[in-house]
């Protein structure tokens, strides 16, 4: 037994003879056994706790030792991905009553709790990013916090099909606005309503056109809106049927809004065009022909065609080139390697197959690991939904891919 390689190496470390080491190990084993037989437990400092069980002897290693051997994965923690099924239905059902009463507090507490649970999913707001790109007109509004909240609503529903969704968000925000800004008066209350009516029903009544004028027009756009007398004054009957409680409130707000717009537009008095961003945007896209603009008459026609093409490039979370760390989100970790070159080689192999892939550097207490990620998804749900489209693991990689937040 003295020929055992471990015994020899231990003897070298201890500057002792192998026989001495063997004797010391035997004494250690005897001590452990006697303690196990007496107490059922034997603690060896630095190594762990031995326990006597029905099946024999087990060892619970010291946490420090366990962490040492689990270094490559020590920063990884279990992830629970909730199903997004109930989100939309919850919003549709609950928020209407709170809007009618004008008080979000009683129902809002529960809603806020649900929203907090959904916060991780909604915070990355992939929808907002996408819609933000598609709708360049929206950014004009962000003058007040109210108007900022209106933006995602207009973008999210993207159609008149589901009015409830469009209604829900503004109601919550209205409640929040009431708390934040109590004394703003009539014109301040109107904008959210105008926004929600616009988002839910496209064409309808006068409120839509007049109210946004009051909302967005306080500092700049007041002069841009035409006089309110030119607007249609027929209220939407469908809304009356749905929410009769709103009738007096709507009329009251409508009158207030009309008065506010009328009063505010008068002194400035210059009816101008609200938006003409289209001809201004092409300016930065003039790279190819800066000098030829003058002689060519159709040049302005070409320019607006070029500008929308650039921002509308869709981001494919699974297919593509590299992982953009600044963009954040989640990725499936396929390998965790101590060598950057090796990790980059694996990532390149995935990219050759057409998958978006990159190396994420992660430094632990003792070492640095290079994790090969595939895909870049805005939410965990999006990532798990793409699991069946993911590439197979490399031949020498055991197990399954691991979901990880890109910016931890």
């Amino acid at each position: 037994m003295t020929n055992d390689p471990f015994t020899h190496r231990l003897a070298e470390l201890l500057n002792a003879e192998p026989k001495e080491v063997l004797a010391a190990l035997e004494r250690l084993a005897l001590r452990i056994r006697s303690e196990l037989e007496q107490d059922g437990i034997a603690v060896v400092e630095g190594l762990g706790t031995f326990r006597a069980t029905d099946g024999g002897v087990t060892l619970d290693p010291e946490p420090r030792l366990s962490r040492y051997f689990n270094r490559p994965y020590e920063s990884l923690k279990p992830v629970v991905v909730q199903t997004p099924a109930g989100d939309t239905s919850y919003q549709k059902t609950d928020i209407v009553p709170s809007h009618e009463t004008g008080q979000a507090e009683p129902g809002a507490e529960e809603e806020e709790g649900a929203e907090a649970e959904r916060a991780e999913e909604t915070e990355p707001a992939p929808v907002n990013d996408v819609t933000g790109e598609k709708e360049p007109e929206v950014p004009e509004e962000p003058e007040t916090p109210e108007e900022e909240t209106v933006e995602p609503e207009d973008a999210a529903p993207a159609g008149p099909v589901i009015p409830a969704e469009a209604e829900t968000v503004p109601e919550e925000e209205e409640a929040a606005l009431d708390e934040e800004v109590p004394d703003t008066g009539e014109p301040v209350v109107q904008p959210p309503e105008a926004a929600h009516t616009v988002s839910s029903n496209g064409p309808p009544p006068v409120e839509e056109e007049t109210e946004p004028a009051a909302a967005a027009g306080e500092p700049e756009e007041l002069d841009e809106f035409p006089p309110p007398t030119q607007k249609r004054e027929v209220p939407d009957e469908a809304e009356h049927r749905r929410r009769p409680v709103w009738i007096p409130l709507l009329f009251f707000l409508l009158i207030g809004g009309v008065i506010a717009v009328y009063v505010l537009t008068r002194p400035i008095g210059g009816p101008t065009v609200v938006e003409r961003p289209a001809p201004e945007q092409p300016a930065p896209a003039d790279e190819p022909r800066p000098a030829d603009v003058d002689p060519d008459a159709p040049a302005p026609v070409d320019e607006p065609a070029e500008t929308p093409a650039a921002p509308e490039e869709p981001f494919d979370p699974l297919r593509g080139n590299a992982i953009h760390v600044d963009r954040g989100g989640y990725t499936w970790i396929y390998a965790s390697l101590p060598d950057m070159a090796a990790a980059e080689e694996v990532a390149q192999d995935f990219r050759r197959q057409g998958f978006r892939s990159g190396v994420i550097v992660e430094r632990t207490d003792a070492r640095t690991f290079y994790r090969v990620g595939v895909g870049q998804f805005q939410t965990q749900e999006e990532a798990t939904a793409a699991l069946n489209q993911m590439p197979p693991l490399p031949a020498n990689t055991p197990g399954n891919p691991w979901l990880r937040r890109i910016n931890q």
Binding site: L14, E20, A24, E45, F50, Y68, K77, T83, N400, P401
Partner: protein, 73 residues
């Protein structure tokens, strides 16, 4: 033959154990048992409520004892 202090033996034993196991080799310590590293792969499990529980991969120290307890009377 002098008697080695047990604390020092254990300390060097643990250092050597770490060094050997890092190379994925099982280590047998006479009279005590055999140590090795076991890799547990990550796992994706669907819960009853439909949510997914994803456990990370893990390297764990595994121990097969040579210490035998005498049967209880």
């Amino acid at each position: 033959m002098h008697k080695l202090p047990q604390e020092e033996v254990v300390q060097q034993l643990v250092n050597l154990l770490q060094s050997e196991l890092t190379h994925s080799r099982p280590v047998r310590i006479p009279y005590i048992g055999t140590f090795r590293i076991v890799h547990h792969t990550s796992d994706i499990r669907e819960e009853k409520d439909g949510s997914l529980f994803i456990t990370p991969p893990q390297d764990e120290l595994d121990f097969h004892p040579e210490i035998e307890l005498s049967p209880e009377d």
